[in-house]
Amino acid sequence: MTDKTDVWQGTLALMILKTLQTLGPLHGYGIARRIEQISGGMLSLNYGTVYPALLKLEQEGSIESEWGVSDNNRKAKYYKLTRAGQKQLEREARDWQQAQMILAKFLSATEPST
């Protein structure tokens, strides 16, 4: 019944950071692929949108990039998490969990408690 959800603004960065934390240095295609897989096909992701997001994270100093060679001998640009990125990931993940918890409680409180 539901369509694929578009990626919310801002969450893409968090997903990228998490991906890089879990899988280590990875190229843009791999990151996009991984995000799609983890979401179980529920997210509709234009792979192209990953690149401006990667650029933004790099400009902010959360990730670094360098050219490397993939498993099947293709040249690709690899991104990896910096220490600042690690911290940002921890902070934002915590914030997300908190927000999610509050919202979950809020939505489950069907009756007013007196």
């Binding site: 190229h27 843009g28 295609y29 791999g30 692929r33 234009n46 792979y47 192209g48 949108t49 690149y51 401006p52 650029l55 933004k56 790099e58 400009q59 902010e60 100093g61 993939s70 099947n72 293709r74 040249k75 690709a76 640009k77 600042a84």
Partner: protein
């Protein structure tokens, strides 16, 4: 996102504006590798090569789109297009060099004048001393004056006694440092470096003066506290004195300077830009506090009460550095009891009814003492240059409007091709930004030389600095200009109906009622502004004229005046002999017709005010106000050309041992002896040692009644004045010499110099100048402002004239076909002329109607700066109207008929 991350990203994006090709290539390579990886995966999943490729491209969401999004994120798109706009604007302006040059110069004039005047305001009213944490520094003040019965100096609202200085200095909870300073003379002091005597401004200061203020040094060092206690013979030079006197040579350190004959060793040179803490004058050198009789504060005669350390000698000026966190009220609450008890030291029991001295702080912002005198004039001057800038802006906007009308087609084409209004706005803003930036840059250069010229004209010793605050002011006015200009032409362009402009061949298509109306308003308001400015300058010029033509009561031309300071001559008997000898020598000098002496130089602003008893009786109200007096030499009236009404002049026979005599002026005689029988009566000097006890001292017989003449300044009212022979006063004061010559007074200077050198090699010739120039100094402020207002008035007229010329020419040009049609249909030459003239007459009329009320209001604000002129002065208004109509008529009269003739030849059609 934290600020640091945002800034980091910002810098990265700024860097993204450059090396675009390399970055683009890298992105292409990355996207290419992405597609390859994806295709390989797809192939492995069993797709056909073609399907694999299509799928990869679809999932990516389009290579070009990705690239575009990526680029937006990489650089700063706004900045990127702005740079594009600026480059384009630059090309457009370069294609119209005439327009660009005129616009930039006009703006430079307006901005430069404003910046120069603001730099004066900044120095005089706003700037702090160029020292670290200057806002912590305060002057100590006595708004009520010192306690009664003490000996004071000219600056009695800011001078303290030595015990007060010591007591406040010991209190460490308020000031981190308290610095004392006092000038060695009213003006300059005799100094000798090498052979020739000269004069310089010097202060005696406490040992912590430089360290407490935080003065840095170009060479050597400042004073230490021991230098003060030992009254060390060391001297620190200012940067500018070091530059002029020693040519910035390091060998100055260790050299000897003789200050009133006392040798001092140079130990340091202050940093550039430090001119000391004296108001409105630059100090040349500093020495530690001295206890020698030759070196006293204000060059006062040392006596039991007027000497170093005496509690009755209130001559020390104080500046303190308040500890951080201490407010002024806390500081004063803590200091007041200390001050009150220290103030009474040596004064005995105070009279409970006597007024109490109060300690206060004075701001070190601006130049102390000048704020009161200059605040109003500077504000008015700033308003005047503000008007000049407004006129300049109006001019440039009219130029822009005229030019952009011809560009209407260009704008229309661009709109038709899909340029947004926003992009057009940014385009015109970029052009006006470039114009204003050019104007501001040239304006700044004008201002640099302008503020130097202002400093020279006003005789200020401290240069008017163009510092960060002035720069900020310039930027602020420039940016507001840029915004105004950017918006002016756009309103026009944006309202252009595209289809109409494109269809019509002639630019007249959009000459709607509204735009021609706004052009007229611009011209009229420019003329109105010009009128206001001209009325202001007219009033100031008429004031100056009044100063210049004021009768002085003496023959001022042909007089040379100079001061001397024979500091090696001590006793009154020696002084009498010295001056008599000097007079005798000077009278024999070639070119000198006669010579005399005065103690207070005429026209210098300095004078001697007191009250004398007449025939042993104190004058009662309403005549009990103070009188003026001066010490004079033999031939006083003869030399200065003051008429003797009754009795005689002072002669060589009025010596110290002769019967004591005095001359009085006409006002004195009329006030106290209305029957005209003043001769033979006597005046008596009062000496008030303490309140209530008046002792009558010497009795002087009136031997002459002479005409009233100006004493301190040219604009004073005549006051009862007494003239005592200098030889008969105790002590004999320092003397100024007046020489009368038939030729050029200044030509006497070399021979007089030689005579003085012959009398005493240490004897300087202080401030030699013509008596005329000295009197002129008493209205130098009025003269400066009159000159400046003439300058601004002329600039305004020129700007308005060029503006009118430009607009009228443009309007006539625009109506070419209309006029052509009219003439073809049989309109007469005169009718066409009237058509054009009527418009400019209407505009001028409206301008005058609007300008006159503002001019009247402006003139009222200037009342305090006027002298002998009423704000509603008809002549000034008529002159201003004449000036405005000149610039209006002068430019459209000859042009209109010429154009009309041209139409006659049918070219218009």
């Amino acid at each position: 996102m934290s600020l640091i991350r945002a800034m980091r990203a910002g810098f990265q994006r700024l860097a993204g504006l450059f090396q675009k090709q390399q970055r683009d290539a890298e992105l292409s390579a990355e996207l290419e590798s992405h597609l390859q990886l994806h295709i390989e995966d797809n192939l492995r999943a069993g797709m056909t090569p073609e399907a694999a490729r299509r799928d990869a491209l679809t999932k990516l969401g389009g290579v070009e789109q990705t690239r575009e999004n990526y680029r937006d994120r990489r650089g700063l798109p706004f900045l990127d297009t702005t740079l594009q706009d600026l480059r384009f604007a630059f090309r457009v302006l370069r294609k119209n060099p005439g327009f660009t040059l005129v616009a930039i110069l006009t703006l430079a004039l307006g901005i430069g004048a404003n910046t120069a005047v603001f730099s004066v305001m900044n120095t005089v009213l706003l700037r702090y001393l160029p020292l670290p944490n200057p806002q912590e520094l305060v002057f100590l003040r006595l708004p009520n004056g010192p306690p009664e019965g003490v000996s004071t100096t000219g600056d009695d609202d800011r001078s303290f006694s030595y015990p007060v200085f010591e007591a406040i200095r010991k209190e460490h909870a308020v000031f981190s440092d308290l610095m004392a300073y006092m000038p060695l003379a009213v003006d300059k002091v005799a100094v000798r470096i090498g052979k020739d005597p000269e004069e310089a401004e010097g202060d005696m200061v406490s040992g912590n003066f430089f360290s407490g203020l935080g003065v840095s040094f170009t060479r050597g060092r400042g004073f230490a506290p021991e230098d003060e206690t030992a009254h060390a013979s060391v001297v620190v030079l200012s940067y500018s004195y070091w530059s002029t006197r020693f040519g910035r040579s390091s060998s100055a350190i260790g050299q000897t300077i003789y200050v009133k004959g006392v040798p001092f060793t140079v130990i340091g040179v202050t940093a550039q830009g430090f001119y000391g803490v004296e108001p409105a004058s630059s100090t040349d050198f500093w020495i530690p506090l001295q206890n020698r009789p030759e070196l006293t504060a204000w060059d006062e005669e040392p006596s039991t009460i007027a000497f170093y350390g005496s509690p009755k000698w209130w001559c020390i000026q104080l500046i303190g550095r308040v500890l951080p966190g201490v407010t002024a009220s806390q500081a004063l609450a803590r200091l007041d009891p200390i001050f009150q008890s220290a103030a009474l030291i040596g004064l005995g029991t105070p009279d409970p009814k006597a007024k109490k001295s109060i300690l206060a702080f004075g701001s070190t912002q601006g130049i102390q003492g000048m704020r009161e005198d200059y605040q109003k004039p500077i504000q008015i001057l700033l308003a005047m240059v503000g008007l000049v800038l407004a006129i300049a802006c109006a001019n440039v906007s009219m130029l822009l409007v005229a030019r952009n009308a011809t560009r209407a087609r260009e704008f229309s084409v661009r709109v038709a091709l899909g340029a947004g209004r926003g992009r057009l706005l940014r385009q015109t803003l970029a052009e006006s930004f470039l114009l204003v930036a050019g104007g501001a840059a040239f304006g700044w250069m004008f201002a640099v030389s302008g503020s130097r010229a202002l400093a020279a004209w006003s005789g200020a010793e401290i240069p008017f600095v163009l510092d960060a605050r002035v720069l900020l002011f310039t930027l602020a006015i420039s940016i507001s200009c840029a915004i105004v200009f950017g918006l002016t032409p756009l309103r026009r362009a944006a309202s252009v109906p595209v289809a109409v402009t494109l269809k019509t061949s002639n630019a007249t298509a959009h000459r709607d009622q509204r735009s021609s109306w706004s052009g007229k308003v611009a011209v009229a308001s420019q003329m109105a502004l010009c009128l206001i400015l001209l009325v202001g300058s007219g009033l100031l010029v008429r004031s100056l004229r009044n100063y210049q033509t004021l009768p002085l009561g003496l023959r001022v031309d042909g007089l040379l005046v100079f001061g001397t300071d024979p500091f090696s001559v001590r006793s009154d008997e020696e002084k009498e002999h010295f001056y008599q000898n000097m007079l005798a020598r000077l009278r024999e000098a070639p070119g000198v017709e006669s010579a005399t002496l005065v103690s207070h130089r005429l026209g210098s602003g300095w004078g001697w005010n007191s009250v004398w008893a007449i025939d042993g009786v104190m004058p009662q109200a309403p005549f009990s106000e103070s009188m003026s007096a001066n010490h004079v030499g033999p031939d006083f009236c003869h030399t200065l050309g003051i008429p003797i009404l009754r009795g005689r002049d002072v002669t060589d026979a009025d010596t110290r041992s002769a019967p004591k005599v005095v001359l009085v002026n006409e006002t004195f005689s009329k006030r106290f002896f209305p029957k005209g029988d003043a001769l033979g009566h006597s005046v008596t000097t009062l000496s008030s040692t303490s309140v209530g006890k008046i002792k009558l001292e010497n009795r002087f017989t009136i031997v002459g009644v002479i005409g009233d003449s100006k004493y301190k300044r040219v604009d004073e009212k005549s006051k009862a004045t007494l003239y005592f022979p200098f030889a008969q006063s105790t002590p004999i004061p320092n003397i100024q010499v007046e020489l009368r010559t038939g030729g050029d007074p200044e030509a006497l200077i070399p021979s007089v110099h030689a005579i003085l050198h012959d009398l005493d090699p240490n004897l300087p010739m202080q401030k030699p100048m013509t008596q005329r120039a000295q009197f002129d100094e008493s209205y130098s402020q009025a003269r400066l402002f009159a000159r400046l207002s003439i300058f601004f008035g002329v600039v305004a007229v020129l700007l308005v004239a060029t503006g009118l010329y430009g607009t009228l020419a443009y309007r006539v040009e625009r109506r070419t076909s209309e006029i052509g049609v009219r003439m073809a249909l049989g309109a007469q030459h005169g009718q066409v002329l009237w058509l054009i003239l009527r418009e400019s007459l209407l505009v001028s009329g409206a301008a005058i109607l609007a300008g006159v009320p503002f001019a009247i209001a402006g003139a009222r604000l200037m009342r305090s700066m006027l002298f002998g002129v009423q704000p509603g002065d008809m002549i000034s208004f008529l002159l201003a109207l004449f000036g405005v109509s000149c610039c209006a008529r002068g430019f459209n009269h000859p042009r209109a008929p010429r154009n009309a003739r041209r139409y006659h030849h049918g070219t218009a059609l």
